[in-house]
């Protein structure tokens, strides 16, 4: 019954999205008020039925309704309740339904925000409707989660144990809220081109969506990296894996868009460019989905590869990107380009920010696509791994970070570069000091690490200075918005510290330990006490009891595990991490060797900073978004905008 309800809800949502698309686009014309109310009504109905379908799938998963093929393939009765719920988006069909559900939530926000006027809203709803239509067709024809099996089996096949993890339960929804948030920016950009009405209105309307997308992409990537760190058992946090790259590319363009849309909104600069970035950002979300879902790449993220799905997404991709670009090429030349600013101004720093971010994005794109393209072209197989990105991507980010402190200090249209340099002198001093200290104290000596510390403290110091300059010591009086760029930029520096710390000064030990034996890694002494068998809810595990010693005193006991999931026949390692906030001691249990056990131990200095930095960035985004939403509540039609 649940299956039929879900199926019916999806079909109704499909019809309503078609009506929403048609009426919305008609409503973009002046005077078509009737069509606009039809579009809003259809959009609301679409939201209701998509949420109903999602609820039906979740219910089926919770009650273990194995008459649904999807539930049978990906669940089992002994799976903990949390993973029955989050497992809904752990597989291809469910995650596509989640995608449409998130799209529905954004559609609802567009209906109620009514930003940028009736015609813009209507056109944006029309474009959202087309996107919803495409994704619903995709679900119903290639990835239907409500397919039945007859007779229904008694037990399901279970979920990939790597995915049975709280971090990963949250990671996909976060990324999807980000990806799909960019769809709202895309829809507003297309709407602006369709209506050709109000130059900066669309940027103002789209900005909360861009912010929401950027925040959730930041959190999603941070969570994903944290998950890889503690779950994969090698202490690595970023692998330049194509699937990671697929989420990094939209983030890079969203960051560029965040800045350029602000300039468009405030001074009318970069109008056409911001439109193009909004189209590009969502295009990369779609490309990311294509790469992950089509089976072109295979990894832990891509499920059953099915060429039909790949072809469908590819066609959707070409249609969406192609028509958006055609619209852009047709309409954008008619926009009045009004940028008038001095070379020393905020606009110039935003432009450079965009240059480096777009180049960085292009680097990741080329590095991700090239092996696939080359193999298709002449059959040559190559690998593009971390060393490639270290050479090509890292210098771009170094240049970007060197420029970051100037942005907040220079005014719009005409800034004072000399004054900005003078204001930044203390930050430069702090940065130089940090570099010298690193060279003097940290071993092994690393010039690259010292350089990275200079850069990180340059950015962090400048952020702190900026806050000081604005607040003049009275931080309580400071509007929340003043913290936005400060927190986000400082987060960038903090993440860099973490990356450098773990990369350069990592202590690493891979050894076979017998019970009672001790070993040292990065200043810690470890003693393997015993390895015992434990029984989990749906796994059996070998758990090591390892004491961490300091001067013969036990300061901590850690329990890395090796978990065997019999239903899936898979073994995963459950790492143990002891963190001080400044350093992680990281233990993973390997195979049994005779009477001993392989133990992998890492001392990762500054590792937590990688994720702290991500949180700082997201908090900065929240500060900006919160200010926006409050302003909207207080003065719905205000055309004035606060300092960012």
């Amino acid at each position: 019954m649940t299956g039929e309800l879900g199926q019916l809800a999806l079909c109704l949502a499909l019809v309503l999205s078609l009506i929403q698309a048609g009426a919305g686009l008609v409503g973009a014309r002046p005077g078509a008020a009737h069509a606009r109310s039809i579009a809003s009504g259809a959009a609301l109905g679409f939201v209701v039925f998509v949420v109903l379908a999602f609820g039906a799938l979740m219910y089926a998963s919770v009650v273990s309704d194995f008459s649904l093929l999807n539930i049978w393939q990906n669940s089992s009765t002994d799976k903990p309740l949390l993973y029955k719920i989050t497992g809904v988006w752990g597989d291809h069909e469910g995650s596509m339904l989640l995608w449409v559900t998130v799209l529905a939530v954004y559609t609802l926000a567009i209906v109620f925000a009514r930003r940028g006027g009736e015609r813009l809203t209507s056109a944006a709803l029309g474009v959202q409707g087309l996107l919803a239509l495409a994704f619903l067709l995709f679900i119903l024809f290639t990835s239907n989660p409500f397919l039945r099996i007859d007779p229904a089996p008694f037990q399901g096949q279970g979920l990939n144990p790597l995915l049975q993890d709280p971090g990963l339960a949250l990671h996909p929804p976060m990324l999807y809220i980000g990806y799909v948030g960019l769809s709202a920016a895309f829809s507003y950009a297309a709407a602006a081109l369709i209506t050709m009405h109000g130059d900066a209105d669309w940027a103002r309307a789209a900005r909360p969506f861009i912010l929401a997308a950027w925040i959730t992409l930041t959190l999603g990537i941070t969570l994903g990296s944290w998950w890889a760190y503690y779950e994969l058992g090698w202490g690595g946090f970023w692998f330049w894996d194509p699937v990671e790259n697929a989420s990094l590319m939209p983030w890079l363009l969203a960051t560029a868009l965040l800045h350029s849309a602000l300039a468009t909104e405030r001074t009318g600069a970069f109008k056409t460019w911001t439109l193009l970035l909004a189209i590009g950002g969502f295009s990369l979300s779609l490309i990311g989905t294509f790469l992950v879902r089509s089976g072109v790449l295979s990894s832990v993220h891509s499920f059953a590869s099915d060429p039909k799905r790949g072809m469908f997404i590819l066609m959707m991709l070409v249609a969406a990107i192609g028509s958006a670009l055609a619209l852009f090429a047709w309409r954008a030349p008619q926009l009045q380009e009004g940028a008038a600013f001095e070379p020393a101004s905020k606009e110039t720093t935003f432009l450079l920010n965009n240059v480096f971010l777009v180049a960085a994005c292009a680097t990741v794109f080329i590095g991700t696509i090239y092996p696939l393209a080359l193999e298709a072209y002449n059959g040559t197989k190559i690998s593009v791994g971390p060393p490639f990105f270290a050479i090509t991507f890292a210098p771009l980010f170094v240049a970007l970070m060197a420029l970051v402190p100037f942005g907040p200090l220079l005014g719009w249209r005409r800034g004072n570069l000399r004054e900005a340099v003078r204001a930044l002198t203390p930050a430069l001093g702090l940065a130089a000091l940090a570099g010298v200290i690193v060279l003097a104290v940290a071993r092994p000596v690393s010039l690259a690490a010292a350089g990275a510390f200079v850069l990180a403290f340059w950015v962090i110091g400048a952020s702190a200075l900026d806050l000081w300059r604005r607040g003049r010591g009275k931080f309580r009086a400071l509007p929340l918005s003043a913290y936005a760029s400060t927190l986000a930029h400082a987060g960038l520096g903090i993440t860099l510290l973490g990356i450098v710390g773990t990369t350069v000064w990592k202590g690493e030990l891979i050894t076979v330990m017998n019970p009672g034996q001790t070993a040292t890694v990065g200043g810690y002494t470890l003693r393997l006490d015993r390895v015992e068998d434990v029984q989990g809810p749906n796994y059996i595990a070998q758990r090591a009891v390892i004491d961490v010693l300091d001067n013969g005193q036990v300061i901590s006991t850690m329990n890395p595990e090796k978990r065997m999931f019999p239903r899936m026949g898979q073994t995963v390692s459950d790492t143990a991490i002891r963190t001080t906030g400044f350093e992680d001691l990281y233990l993973a249990l390997g195979d049994q060797r005779g009477t001993g056990w392989t133990v992998r131990a890492y001392a990762n200095p500054l590792a937590p900073f990688i994720w702290f930095g991500g949180l700082f960035m997201a908090l900065g985004g929240f500060a900006s978004l919160w200010t926006r939403l409050r302003l909207k509540v207080r003065a719905p039609s205000a055309n004035t905008v606060p300092a960012e």
């Binding site: 690595g236 692998f239 894996d241 194509p242 970069f270 056409t272 193009l276 590009g280 990369l284 490309i287 089976g295 072109v296 790449l297 295979s298 990894s299 590869s305 060429p307 590819l314 991709l317 070409v318 990107i321 090429a329 030349p333 380009e337 009004g338 940028a339 008038a340 600013f341 001095e342 070379p343 606009e347 110039t348 432009l351 450079l352 965009n354 240059v355 777009v358 180049a359 292009a362 680097t363 080329i366 590095g367 696509i369 696939l372 393209a373 080359l374 298709a376 072209y377 197989k381 190559i382 690998s383 593009v384 791994g385 971390p386 060393p387 490639f388 090509t392 005409r414 690493e508 050894t511």
Partner: protein, 151 residues
């Protein structure tokens, strides 16, 4: 003109090369005879060389993992092979050449610079130069406009 440049830039960045679904790879290397190398070399400097080397090669049977971080049997064998070669006195270059001759460029995490990877290595630089050029042009135009407006 600027719009044409933007569009060209866009095409360069986003044009999706004709991708096709990857086929099951039939050319996986035959199992390597582990050349009796140890899993760990006692001499720290030689071990450090081995670790640095194994980060440069990919695990051939996994997705995107290096030999350094793979649990696959083949990766274990290759880690021992690298150590056996180091103990036999081979240079890093000899070991790299040996592995490439056996498994092809695919094993290199850092793709070689050759005719069919020029676009890979210089593409990002080209994008940077084009974007930088467009940006300079925008700044010059904006300054002119600003001066005209304030005069």
């Amino acid at each position: 003109m600027r719009r044409a440049l933007f569009i060209a830039l866009f095409a360069l960045v986003f044009a999706l090369p004709a991708a096709r679904p990857a086929q099951a790879d039939a050319s996986l290397p035959a199992a390597v005879e582990a050349q009796n190398g140890p899993e760990h070399i006692a001499d720290p400097s030689l071990e450090a060389r081995a670790v640095a080397l194994q980060k440069q090669f990919r695990c051939l049977v996994c997705q995107g993992e290096s030999l350094d971080e793979s649990n696959a049997d083949l990766a274990k064998d290759l880690r021992r092979l690298i150590r056996a070669r180091i103990l036999a006195g081979d240079s890093d270059k000899q070991i790299t050449d040996f592995l490439v001759s056996r498994y092809g460029d695919f094993i290199l995490m850092k793709p070689p610079l050759q005719e069919d990877t020029y676009l890979l290595w210089f593409g990002p630089l080209a994008v940077l130069l084009i974007a930088g050029g467009v940006a300079s042009w925008v700044v010059v135009k904006a300054r002119t406009r600003n001066r005209v407006a304030t005069d």
